[in-house]
Amino acid sequence: MNKFIFKIIIFVIPVLGLYVVEGFLPSFTFTYRPWEALDFQTKFDFERTFYPNKKVQMEAVGQLCHHTPHAIVKEETWKTDKLGNRNDTFIQNPDVLIIGDSFMAGCCVTQDSTITNLLKSELGDETKIYNIAPGEFSRADYYLSSGIIEKPDLIVYSKSERYVPKSLEEYKDSRSLKTDLKKLFENNSTFSGISVFLDKALRHYSKNWLQARLTNQNGDGVPGVEGSGMFFFNTAAQEDDPNLVRNTDTDLERTKNNIVSYKEYCDANGIDFLFLPMPNKATVYYEYVPFKEQPDYLFKLDSMLRAEGITTVNTLKLYNDYRESNDKLLYHLDDTHWNSTGVYLVSKELAGTIENSRLLARE
C-alpha cells in the first residue's frame, strides 16, 4: 500500500505542482486586464465578484482586439474592498449605493476614474458612496436584507443598453446557516485568502492562456469603418442570451417593468431611486459601425421611464451633445467600455441630477 501511495504522489506532484504554482503567482500573470485577474472563476467566491482586499496595477488592453497591433496599452489600478467590490474601502452605511454592470465596476478605467470616485469628487467627500457592481439588483437586496450594508438614501441602478435587467429576486433567508457561513467567510481574512488561493490554483488560467495563444485568440471585436480605428462588441457570440436586447418592444417593456419594480422596492424601503442607462459604443459611434442612423432604444426607454415617474439620466443625449462640440473620445478604441472622459461626463451629469432632484437632500 505504501508503495502504491508513494507512486501516486510521485505521479501527482508535477501535475498538482502546476496548480500550486499558479495559486502563488500574481493574479494578473496570465491575463490582459485586471477584470479577469481579480474575477472569481470557481465556486469559492461566497457571493463575491472579485478577490477581496486586493490592489492590482498592470498594463491592460481592451477586450476587443487584444494580442493584435490594434490593442492600446493603458496603465490600470484596481482596488477591492473586503467584500470583493471595487471600492477604496468598505462602507457599511453608504449614502449612495451603486448597482450596475461592467461600466459601473469601472472596466477599463483606473481606480481614480471609477464612477464611485468621480461622483464623490462631484458630491463632496462627506458623501459616502458604495459600489457593488457588477451585480444585479438582487445582490443589493441580499446585502440589505442580511444586514451586510445598511439602508442607503439613494440607489443608483445602471444597466448597459445591450441587456435587459434581470427581475428582482428578493432575498428572504436572512438568518440561515448559509448566510451566516457566507458572512463568516466574507469577514475572515484567512478564509478569504484560502478561497483566493484555491480560485487562482483551480481556474486554469495558464492552460487557457496556452490554448488562447496556440489558437491565436485575439478578442471577438468587429472592426469599424476603415480609418476609425474602432472595434465594436460582437453580439453574435451572445445571440442565445435571453437578456440580450434586440431592439424590440418586448425588450423595452421588460426593461421598463423591471426598473419600475426596482423603484417600487426602493419606495417600500424608503430609499430614493435613480436609473442610469449606459449606451452601447455602437450607439454613440453609430456612424463608425456603420449604422444608417442612431438606434433610439435608449430614447424610447427614457420617455417610458419618465412617464412612470422614474428619475433617470439621459446619457445618450449627454454623449451626443458632447460629441457635437468635442473630438475627444468617450469610449476606448479597443474596448466596448467608456474611458475616463466618458465617466467624468456621466459623473458630472449624475451629480447634477442628484442635486437638482434633491435626492440626497440632508436636513
Binding site: M1, K3, K7, F11, Q211, T215
Partner: protein, 488 residues
C-alpha cells in the same frame, strides 16, 4: 458528482483513506463505510430518490431469503413474480409510463378521437436501469438455485448500490460480485496500479475525446438539413467515436475505481471497433448488458422457439435487440435502433456463422485485407444505426439519412456554424481518436489499452504516456461533463 469532477476526487481520496487505513481490519465496518459512501454518492446526484433505492434493496433482500427458504413451488414463483413486478414495474413506471401515454395520445389523435390522457410528472431515479437489472438477476438466480440468497443485508445493499457502478454500470451479476463483498479485501498492489491506469485511460477517452467531439456532433445533428452528405457522414462517424469514448471511458473509470477498492468489476467493452461482424461487435460492446439479456431473455426465448429453427432464432434475436434498444430509453428511436441491429444478425443466422469466433490478426501486427474489410463493414453498420440512436425522434433520423443521400456530397454550407469547418481542433480530435484506436489495436488482447503488465516496456516509456495523457486531460477538459449513459 461525476468521476471527472474535483468534488469526486476529494470524496474518493477521503473515502479511500478511510476504507484502507481505518476500516480495513473489520470487513463489516468496511462494508458499512462502503454503503455509506455509496448512499452519499447517490444522494448527491439526487437525494429525493435515495429512499426508493433503499426500499428496492430491502424488498429484494427479503425476497431472496424467502424464495430460497420456501419449499412450496407456487409460493416460490409468487415471490419471484413480486420481485419481477417491482423491478420491471418500476422501470416501466419511471422510464416508460409517459412515453406510453404520449404514444397512446398520438394514436387517438390520428384516429380523430378528441381525448387526451394526461402524462405524469415523474422523477426518474438515476441508474434505475442498472440497479434494477442487478436485483432481477439476483432473485432469478436465487429462484433457479444458481446462487444462495445472501443473509447479510449489508452485503446485498452494497451489491445493489456500489457507487462506482450504480449510475452507469457495468451491471455486475450477483454470483460474481456478492462473494467479493463477503470476503475480506486485501490490498493488491498490481490490481490498484492497474486500476489507476484504467482510470487514466477512461478519463482520457471521456474528457479529451468524448467531451470535445460532442461540440461537433451536436452542431451536425442539429443542422443536418443544411449540411453536405460528407459532413453528415463525418457527424455519424464522430458520434460513434463519441459514444464509445464516453461510455467505455465511464466503464473504465468505474472498473478502475472498483479495482482500487479491491473489486473485480465486470468488463464492459472489449475493443468493439475491431469486431469482425455484428455478433462479434455485441460480444465486445456493453458486454454486461448483452450478457445479462443473453442469459435472461435470449437463451430462454431461443429455447422456447427452437422448434421453429432459424426463424425462431431470428425472432429471439429481434425481441432481444428491441429490448436492448428500449432499455436505453422511452423513444421509438431506441426501439428502431435495436430492431435494426437485430436485422443485422439475420444474414449471420442464415449462414450459421453467428456464434463463430475467430481472433483477429492472431500473432500478427496488422489485420489481413479480409479482416480489415470485415472491421470496416461492421463499423459502417454500427455507425449508421447510431444515427437513429442519436436522433431526437424517428423523423429526425429519417431526415438525417435522406440528407446524406440528397444533399451535395462535398458542398459545405456551414454559415454560422464555424465549428463544423475543418479546424485545428477538429483535426486534433480526429488524430487523438486514431491514437485511441491504435492503442486499442496493440492492446486488444488486454483488459484495457493501458494495461502494461507482462509487457517489456521501460518505465520512462510508461510514465511518458501517463504524463502525456494527464496533460491532454488538463489541456482539453471542457465545460461539458455529463455522461451519455447517465440518462439511461
Amino acid at each position: 458528482m461525476i468521476f471527472t469532477s474535483t468534488s469526486f476526487l476529494i470524496f474518493f481520496t477521503l473515502f479511500y483513506l478511510l476504507y484502507w487505513f481505518v476500516t480495513n481490519k473489520n470487513l463489516r465496518i468496511q462494508n458499512l463505510l462502503l454503503l455509506a459512501g455509496s448512499y452519499f454518492f447517490y444522494a448527491l446526484a439526487d437525494w429525493r430518490l435515495l429512499a426508493f433505492l433503499v426500499a428496492v434493496s430491502a424488498l429484494n433482500y427479503f425476497l431472496g431469503i424467502y424464495i430460497e427458504k420456501t419449499e412450496n413451488q407456487l409460493r416460490k414463483r409468487l415471490l419471484l413474480n413480486v420481485g419481477l413486478i417491482q423491478g420491471l414495474g418500476g422501470l416501466i413506471y419511471f422510464k416508460y409510463f409517459n412515453f406510453f401515454i404520449a404514444s397512446f395520445n398520438e394514436v387517438l389523435q390520428s384516429l380523430h378521437f378528441n381525448v387526451h390522457v394526461r402524462t405524469l410528472q415523474i422523477l426518474l431515479p438515476l441508474g434505475i436501469s442498472f440497479f434494477t437489472f442487478k436485483t432481477i438477476s439476483y432473485i432469478l438466480d436465487v429462484y433457479k438455485g444458481k446462487i444462495e440468497a445472501t443473509k447479510d443485508w449489508l452485503v446485498f445493499f452494497n451489491y445493489v448500490s456500489f457507487f462506482p457502478t450504480i449510475l452507469s454500470g457495468p451491471i455486475d451479476k450477483a454470483r460474481a460480485f456478492v462473494p467479493q463483498l463477503q470476503k475480506k479485501r486485501v490490498f493488491e498492489y498490481s490490481l490498484a496500479v492497474d486500476g489507476m491506469r484504467q482510470i487514466l485511460w477512461g478519463m482520457f477517452k471521456k474528457v479529451v475525446i468524448a467531451d470535445n467531439i460532442l461540440v461537433y456532433t451536436d452542431q451536425i445533428f442539429s443542422n443536418y438539413e443544411s449540411l453536405s452528405g460528407s459532413t453528415l457522414l463525418l457527424g455519424a462517424f464522430l458520434y460513434t467515436i463519441q459514444l464509445y469514448a464516453d461510455f467505455s471511458g465511464y466503464s473504465d473509470m468505474a472498473i478502475g475505481l472498483g479495482r482500487l477498492l479491491g473489486f473485480n468489476v465486470a468488463k464492459n467493452f472489449n475493443f468493439p471497433f475491431f469486431a469482425q461482424n455484428i455478433a462479434d461487435f455485441w460480444r465486445k460492446w456493453h458486454i454486461s448488458l448483452t450478457s445479462w439479456l443473453t442469459e435472461y431473455v435470449f437463451t430462454p426465448l431461443s429455447i422456447a422457439f427452437r422448434d421453429y429453427g432459424k426463424l425462431g432464432l431470428i425472432l429471439a434475436i429481434l425481441i432481444n435487440f428491441v429490448l436492448i434498444g428500449i432499455w436505453h430509453g422511452a423513444n421509438w428511436t431506441f426501439a428502431v435502433f435495436g430492431f435494426l441491429h437485430g436485422c443485422y444478425f439475420i444474414p449471420l443466422i442464415l449462414r450459421g456463422t453467428m456464434n463463430k469466433r475467430k481472433k483477429i490478426a492472431k500473432g500478427k501486427v496488422l489485420p489481413s485485407f479480409r479482416e480489415s474489410l470485415n472491421m470496416g463493414a461492421t463499423f459502417l453498420l454500427v455507425m449508421l444505426a447510431n444515427i437513429i440512436f442519436r436522433a431526437d425522434n424517428i423523423g429526425h433520423a429519417w431526415g438525417y439519412f435522406l440528407s446524406i443521400l440528397s444533399n451535395p456530397l462535398f458542398s459545405f454550407s456551414t454559415a454560422g456554424m464555424e465549428g463544423i469547418n475543418v479546424n485545428p481542433h477538429l483535426l486534433i480530435m480526429l488524430g487523438l481518436s486514431i491514437v485511441m484506436l491504435i492503442f486499442g489495436w496493440f492492446q486488444r488482447n488486454k483488459e484495457h489499452a493501458l494495461q502494461f503488465q507482462d509487457m517489456k516496456t521501460s518505465r520512462a516509456f510508461r510514465w511518458s504516456i501517463y504524463y502525456l495523457l494527464a496533460v491532454a486531460i488538463i489541456y482539453y477538459q471542457s465545460s461539458y461533463k455529463q455522461f451519455i449513459y447517465f440518462q439511461f
